[in-house]
Amino acid sequence: MFNKDSGLLQGTLELLVLKTLSWGPMHGYGVAKWIESATGDVLRIEEGSLYPALYRMTRRGWIKGTWGVSDNNRRAKYYHLTAEGKRQFQEQTSGWQRFAAAVTQAIGTVTAPGWAS
């Protein structure tokens, strides 16, 4: 359901990546897996769009990739949050929460407006 062209959901993907990495350094596959399991498989990300997002975030200085060794002794690129990344994570989290609360409130309203007859 994630699409490269969708600005809103693009931002959402980035927020989820930041959240994932707030637990600690992780490689791209691990990030994808965590998002799937954390969203209860509701958000199955199209993996092709994850990697460009990772590189863009690297460029913005939110995350940084370093080569390490995975559990099964395979060379893998691990991403971690930079100081700027941590700041972005907090900012975007609260922004998302305000947004989600506003949308929730709007769609939960039972009082009809005046023009609805």
Partner: protein
């Protein structure tokens, strides 16, 4: 998820290509996914297909990521490079402020070297390299008459010869004849009479040079015709100075020498006159000049400028004119026999005598720059050696040797740039000084300013110097064995033989260069001294000179003579004047000359005919200037017009033509007219060195002003006090005598003489300053060498002292090591002195190129300065405390 191997700040030892890195990452992702599917129970083939499908377009993603990573890497590299540069600069500035003396020395040394070069290059460029303000100036040549007796190289042509050259030549697309020198004339305006300098030219003159007027037009051929109205063209300076820059002056009528002329044009500001400073250009007509049968071929006052036809070289034009000259000598042996016509490129004529001094200056400045570079290379070498430990530590901590070399180059470039900027400031100061000292000695078109070309030259010089002397320490850093350097801490260490040799050679080179420069400066100074101290043959002290121009055109000799006699009486009465006289010309480098025939003597072959300087003087001339009478008499009232013409000759003339005496009473004939009356030699007077820049006095003939009046006259006044105090009263008395009489060029005889040798003084002053500069720099170099030598061997000396060596032996050790290099330098200097001597040969007077006094004084001065420079370091070496050093 545990990840024990990744430290947040660790970097890979190498960075792989972006495409491979992205591929690697995506590959890992897919592998992991397939593994997970297989673990869930899928068969490998299905797992693979599902994983790929789930991922999407792999190559598309890989392309996008690769591009992002590449851009990222590039930005990073730029940031790194800038950060490195910032670091280098910060480090360089910090180490520069730490080593204050070194930095100050380096910048000042560089500033002096570069400043001297920029200033001298500014002069050389404006004189030798800048284009003359004519169209295609390199295609212009001038035609001169070379006197076969050697008395003049760039002599004037007769009207007949000028016409024949014009008629017969095949080399010029156009040409114009003009008067060799500008002449004085009187311009009468509202404010009274002015003297103006008049240049007489053929109408084609400006077209040949390719000069466009600033206002109006230049001359047309009709302007020279007698039946059209007379015209004039003003120079820009005269237009501004006399007419206040009024554009309405074009089309108005002005009166020059009593004749009305229509102003048709104004020349551009940057126009440079080939015949010196003129104010007004008038047209002359060659046919009119040819009408007098005697002066047509016998009087020489013209010259010719021509533009080479396309494809004609200066050399073939010279051959063309040579051939014409030879046939003229055959056709008119009496008039044209004594001359050979030659062509000279216009630029060479205008550069004139200044070429050699300028090249000498350029060479001197280059030598100073070489010394500067050697000095700085030595200083940086010392600094690199004293910083060896610092470098070793940095290498041990992971700095690459390339990185260190880059750091050193940055440091020296910063120094060089600082020196370059300081040098430009110095050059500005230098040029403003030069403008005062040198302008009179340089061609009139030279304007001394620091232009872009000079700035570029200087900055390139600064950068090259920086790189050149930055490379030596950088190379040493690259080669040094860091481990042994670090270990050296515990052992006695001396600097390597290699760098000691390099430093010694640098100092030897400086001494050699310095010796050459000083010797050159000494030779020139001795020449100038010989020139100014040798007796002139007359007493210039307390003498004032004033040029006057009578208002009438060409009056009868009797009337002119009476006019001047009355004027002289009037001026003699001015309080403070103790003696007064007049002459057609004062002693100077360029004087009129006449051909001479001695009665009864076999005339010499035509090509060896003599030309003798000729002056017409008043009775009191010899007394006023203090020229002694050797025999016979000087002029008196008996030499009236109509009486047999009397001639007084100089002692040099008597020596040349009457070595056994008998000159008195001999009759001679002067001038081109074969039928002119004979003149009798009535007296012999002392020699006068009319050109103060020449040691040998020239033969001179004097005629009486009563019998041979001249148009323009210079009055000389002797006074008891400051002669300039007479200037105002004399001018007032002159205008009371005749309001239309114009007087100008009021100056002291001393100033005239000083101007006469200005061209000689310039190279002396400059080369002496360069010599002093070189001496200072070389002394600093010697000091630095001994200081570094002493510092490097401090430990060794400590050991020697501890083992019982005396202070004297230590001093001997240091001196022997340094003296060897100084001896090499002196030996190399001898070669340089020989080169300088031969380069300067043409500028030397009264001294030989290997003048022993100069050489001894130079070597002694250099040794004295070097000795002073090495005193401190040697003293310090002998005072090494063994306990301090060995602890």
């Amino acid at each position: 998820m545990r990840n024990p191997f990744v430290h947040p700040d660790s970097k890979l030892p190498f960075e792989s290509a972006p495409q491979a890195e992205v591929g690697d990452e995506l590959q890992f992702h897919l592998e992991q996914r397939i593994r997970d599917y297989v673990r869930e129970g899928m068969d490998p083939a299905t797992a693979r297909a599902t994983a790929l499908e789930r991922f999407g377009d792999v190559s598309d993603v890989q392309r996008e990521c690769t591009q992002l990573l590449t851009e990222d890497r590039r930005a990073l590299a730029r940031r790194d490079w800038l950060a490195d540069l910032r670091q280098d600069l910060r480090f360089g500035l910090r180490s520069a402020t730490h080593a204050k003396v070194f930095t100050l020395l380096a910048v000042v040394t560089l500033a002096l070297g570069i400043g001297a070069n920029a200033a001298v290059f500014g002069v050389v460029k404006s004189v030798l390299l800048d284009a003359l303000p004519y169209r295609e100036p390199d295609r212009l040549v001038r035609v001169f008459a070379r006197f076969r007796d050697g008395s003049s190289e760039n002599g004037a042509l007769s009207a007949g010869a000028a016409k024949d050259v014009g008629d017969r030549q095949h080399s010029f697309s156009n040409f114009a004849v003009f008067q060799h020198d500008a002449m004085d004339g009187v311009f009468k305006g509202e404010g009274g009479a002015h003297i103006v300098r008049i240049a007489w030219v053929q109408p084609a003159f400006f077209a040949t040079l390719g000069v466009e007027p600033a206002l109006g037009r230049t001359f047309h051929e009709e302007d020279a015709r007698s039946d059209t109205s007379l015209t004039a063209i003003l120079t820009h300076a005269a237009w501004q100075g006399i007419f206040g820059g009024d554009p309405k002056v074009v089309g108005s009528t002005i009166r020059i020498n009593g004749i009305s002329r229509l102003v048709v044009g104004v020349l551009p500001r940057d126009f440079v006159e080939p015949m010196g400073d003129a104010d007004v250009y008038l047209t002359m007509s060659l046919p009119a000049l040819l009408s007098d049968p005697v002066s047509a071929r016998g009087s020489h006052y013209l010259t010719l400028v021509g533009r080479l036809k396309p494809g004609v070289t200066a050399k073939s034009a010279r051959q063309d004119v040579d051939a014409i000259s030879n046939s003229l000598s055959r056709e008119y042996p009496r008039d044209d026999g004594p001359f050979a016509l030659t062509t000279t490129p216009l630029r060479d004529v205008m550069v004139g005598d200044t070429r050699t001094p300028l090249l000498v200056l350029m060479a001197s400045a280059s030598l100073v720059l070489l010394i500067t570079c050697a000095n700085l290379a030595g200083a940086l070498l010392s600094r690199a050696i004293s910083r060896r430990k610092e470098f070793a530590v940095r290498v041990a901590l992971g700095a690459g040797s390339g990185r260190l070399a880059r750091q050193l180059l940055t440091e020296s470039t910063v120094l060089a740039l600082a020196g370059g900027i300081a040098g430009i400031l110095l050059a500005l100061v230098g040029l403003s000084v030069l403008r005062k000292v040198a302008l009179s000695a340089l061609p009139s078109y030279a304007h001394l300013a620091l232009d872009t070309g000079t700035l570029v030259y200087t900055m390139v010089l600064a950068l090259c110097t920086g790189l050149a002397f930055g490379i030596i320490p950088a190379l040493t850093v690259g080669r040094a064995n860091m481990q042994s350097v670090l270990r050296d801490e515990t052992r006695g260490t001396s600097e390597s033989r290699r760098s000691r040799r390099l430093r010694g050679a640098l100092v030897a080179g400086q001494i050699a260069l310095c010796l050459s420069l000083l010797a050159g400066a000494g030779l020139l100074a001795r020449s100038l001294w010989a020139m100014t101290s040798a007796p002139l043959g007359f007493n210039p002290e307390g003498v004032l000179a004033v040029d006057v121009q009578p208002p009438m055109g060409s009056s009868m000799p009797e009337a002119m003579s009476r006019y001047y006699a009355l004027l002289e009486d009037r001026l003699r009465a001015v309080p403070g004047v103790t003696a007064i006289a007049s002459a057609s010309q004062l002693p100077s480098a360029y004087m009129n000359a006449n051909g001479m025939v001695i009665e009864g003597a076999t005339p010499p072959p035509m090509d060896q005919q003599s030309f003798i300087t000729y002056v017409s003087v008043s009775d009191d001339y010899f007394r006023t200037l203090g020229i002694p009478l050797r025999s016979g008499r000087t002029f008196g009232p008996e030499d009236r017009p109509g009486a047999p013409s009397s001639i007084v000759i100089s002692a040099a003339m008597e020596r040349r033509y009457w070595p056994h005496g008998g000159a008195l009473g001999t009759r001679i004939r002067l001038g081109p007219d074969a039928n002119a009356p004979w003149k009798v030699i009535v007296g012999v007077v002392g020699d006068v060195r009319n050109d103060p820049a020449r040691m040998e006095p020239q033969p001179i003939t004097y005629a009486s002003r009563r019998q041979e009046p001249s148009g323009t006259v210079t009055f000389v006044f002797r006074s008891q006090g400051n002669p300039l105090a007479l200037a105002k009263p004399i001018q007032r008395a002159a205008s009371e005598y005749d309001a239309d009489l114009a007087s100008h060029n009021v100056t002291t005889m001393r100033a005239l003489l000083s101007n006469g040798i200005a061209g000689r003084r310039l190279p002396v002053v400059l080369m002496t300053s360069f010599g002093a500069l070189a001496l200072l720099l070389a002394s600093v170099g010697v000091y630095a060498m001994f200081a570094a030598m002493g510092a490097a061997r401090e430990r060794e000396f400590g050991v020697r002292v501890a083992l019982g060596s005396s202070r004297q032996r230590i001093a001997g050790l240091v001196l022997r090591q340094g003296a060897t290099w100084m001896a090499f330098g002196l030996a190399g200097g001898i070669v340089g002195v020989l080169a300088v001597g031969s380069l300067l040969r043409n500028l030397l007077y009264g001294v030989t190129p290997l003048d022993p006094v100069t050489m001894a004084a130079t070597a002694l001065m250099l040794l004295a300065c070097a000795s002073i420079a090495l005193l401190g370091p040697v003293r310090r070496a002998t005072q090494v405390d063994p306990i301090d050093v060995l602890r």
